[in-house]
Amino acid sequence: MTEPRHIPITLPVLARVEGEGTLELRVHDGEIEDLRLRIFEPPRMFEKLLEGRDYSEVPDMVARICGICPVAYQMSAVHALESLFGVRPTEWIRAMRRVMYCGEWIQSHSLHIHMLAAPDFLGFPGMVEMAQRHPDEVRRGLMLQALGNDLIRLLGARSVHPVGVRVGGFYRAPKQGEIDSLLEELRAALPQAEALVRWTASLGFPEDEQQFTCVALRHPDEYPMNEGRLVSTQGLDIPADLFEKHFVEHQVPHSTALHCLHDGKPYLVGPLARLNLNMDRLPGHVRDVVDGLRLGFPSRNMHHSIVARAIEIMIAVHEAIRLLESYREPHSPNINLRPVAGVGAGCTEAPRGILWQRYEIDAAGKVRRARIVPPTSQNQARIEDDLRQSLRCFGTDRREEELRHHGERVIRNYDPCISCATHFLDLRINRSASG
C-alpha cells in the first residue's frame, strides 16, 4: 500500500464576487475526488431578527440582507404579507413596483457585467484597468448603472436600502415632472442597452454545454419580475406558495448558506434560467435583437449569462419606458390594510433569481416566524456541479493560478451575491497521487 501524497494549497481571496468564499478541491490521480464551495458568511440570522417585530418594520429590515438587491427583498416581503392580509395592490402600485424592480435589475446587472464579469472575457484584472483600453464601454456601463439607481431613487429616495416601500404600496408618489425627466434619460439609454447586448454577445465564449434544470417565474403575458407561477425546464408548474413542497433546503458542513435542492437535484435560477423559460415573453423589439444574435437562446452554456444579463437590462429599460409613459399621479400611493393572523408566502425574481419568503404573523401584526430562501443558496449546488464538470474539462493538472482563474470565471457566471447567503473565496487544492 502506498501513502497518498497530499499537497494542500491555499490561494488568496477570490476577487470580483459580491462577498467572500473558499473553493476546496481534492484531486487524486488527476481526478476530482471532492469539491466544495465554502461560502462563508458570518451568520447574521435574519430570520430570527425578524421575530417579534411589527409587520410594518419588515421591508426596512429585509432590505439589509443585501445592499445590491434590497428591492428584491422588499418586494418578496410585501407580496408575502399582502397575500397573508388578503389585499391586492392597485394597478398603479403594481406598475410602480415593476418600475422599481427594473431599476434594480439595470443597476445590479450593469455592475456585474462591467465591474465583475467583463474583465474576465477581455483579460483585465478589473474594471479600472479595463477602462484604459475600453473607455467607451466602461462609461456606457457606468451610465446604465447610474440610470438603474435613478429609477430606484424615484420611488425609494435612495438606491441602497430605499425608504419608499411599505406593506400596501409606497409612502410617496412621484410627481409628473420627475417622471418626465427620467423618461428622457430612459429613451436615450435604450439604444445604449441594445449596443450593450451586441457587445456582450461578441465577447467570445468557451464551448461548455451542460445539462441542468432551470427554474424561474412565469407570468401570463409579461417577462417575470413580481408575479407568476414557478416553472422549470423539467415541466414543473406550480403556484409559488407551494415552493416548500418541491424545494428542500439542507445544511452542508462546509457552508453557512443552506443548500437548496429541487426534487433532490441541483438547479439553476437567475438571468439565464429566466430567459430560457421566458423567450416568448420578450417585448417585440428586444426579441428582434435577440433573434439577430449568433448565439442560440435558450442556451445551455453558462458563459452566456453575461449576455442574458445585458438582454434583461434592455428588457428593463424598455419596460420602464412603457410603464412611465402612461403614468398618472394616484389618489393614494398605498392601500389600507389591517393585519390578520396567518401565514403568507411571496416569490419574486431578484436579479440573481427567485427569492422566496414566508411569514407567519400573529393577531397583533407581529412576526412569529420568517423563512427566507435567497437565490444564491439555491444556485450553490449547481455551481459545485458546474465546477466539477468545467474543471475536469479544463484539466486538473494545470497550475493553481490557472485553476483558480477558471474556477472564478465559472463561479462569476452565477453572480453569487454572497452577502445574501453568504463570504471569502480562496482556493484550496489538495492533490494526491497513488504510488
Binding site: A15, P43, V128
Partner: protein, 261 residues
Amino acid sequence: MADKPGMAVHKFASCDGCQLAFLNLGEDLLTLSQAVDIVHFAEAGPVNPEAAVDIAFIEGSISTPEDLERLLRIRANTRYLITLGACATAGGLQALRNFADADEWVASIYPEPGYIQSLATSTPIARHVKVDLEIWGCPVTGRQVLAAVSALLSGVSPWIEKDKVCMECKRHQTVCVMVTRGIPCMGPVTRTGCGALCPSFGRDCYACYGPAENPNTGSLARRLEGLGLVPEAVARRFRFITAGATEFAEAGAYRGDLSHD
C-alpha cells in the same frame, strides 16, 4: 506611481451596501483610482488583504473568532482605520442578537449548529481596535466617503455630521411629519447625513444613521408614548438598525414613563 497613498476596503458581517458607496460613484470611481492606489477591494478586483496601506475602510461587524484575528492584522497594517456604516460602527441590525440567546438562534436556523462558528454577539470595530474615523449611515453615501478621502489626502481632519435629522428637515423646508401628522419620527435623536430622506417621503425617520450628538432619548421616548405607542413599541424604535449604539441601547430598555406628571 509608488508614492500614491494606498487604500483598502475590507468586509466583515454586512450586506455589501456601504461598499456600493464606492462602486456607485460612476466616473468619480475612476478619478479616485488615479488619486489613491486601491490595493485591496475584493469586490472590485484587487486582492491583497495583508498589504500595508494608508487608509483602510471597514464595512461590517465582528461576529466570529476569525473576524477578530483578521481585524487585528488590518489595524496593524494601516495608518488610518475608518469604519463605514451601521455594522462597522454600531454592530448593525444583526446586533439585535446581543439582546437574545444567540446559541438558541443558531440551533433554530441550522440543523447542525456544531458546524457554525459564531460569537454570541455582533460588535462594532471600535470595541476591538482603535478607530480613527467613524462614518455613520445605513448605508453611507458616496458623498461621505469621498469627503473623508479628500480631507485625508489634503491633510485636514474630515468633517463629520453630528446634527439631528430635524435640522436637515428645516434646511430643506420639509414639513414635520411628527408635528403635522402625528407620525412617530426618530429625527429628533438621529444623526443627519442621509439628506433627511424619510420625512421628505412623508414617513418617519427610523434612525438608520445612529444617534446624533447629545440626543435627548428620554424626552423623545415620552413623546412617542404620547403619540400612542406602547412602551414596548417605543423600545423597538430604538432597538433597530443601530441598536448597538450606546445611547440607543440604553433607550431601548424603555419600559414606560413611570413618573407621569
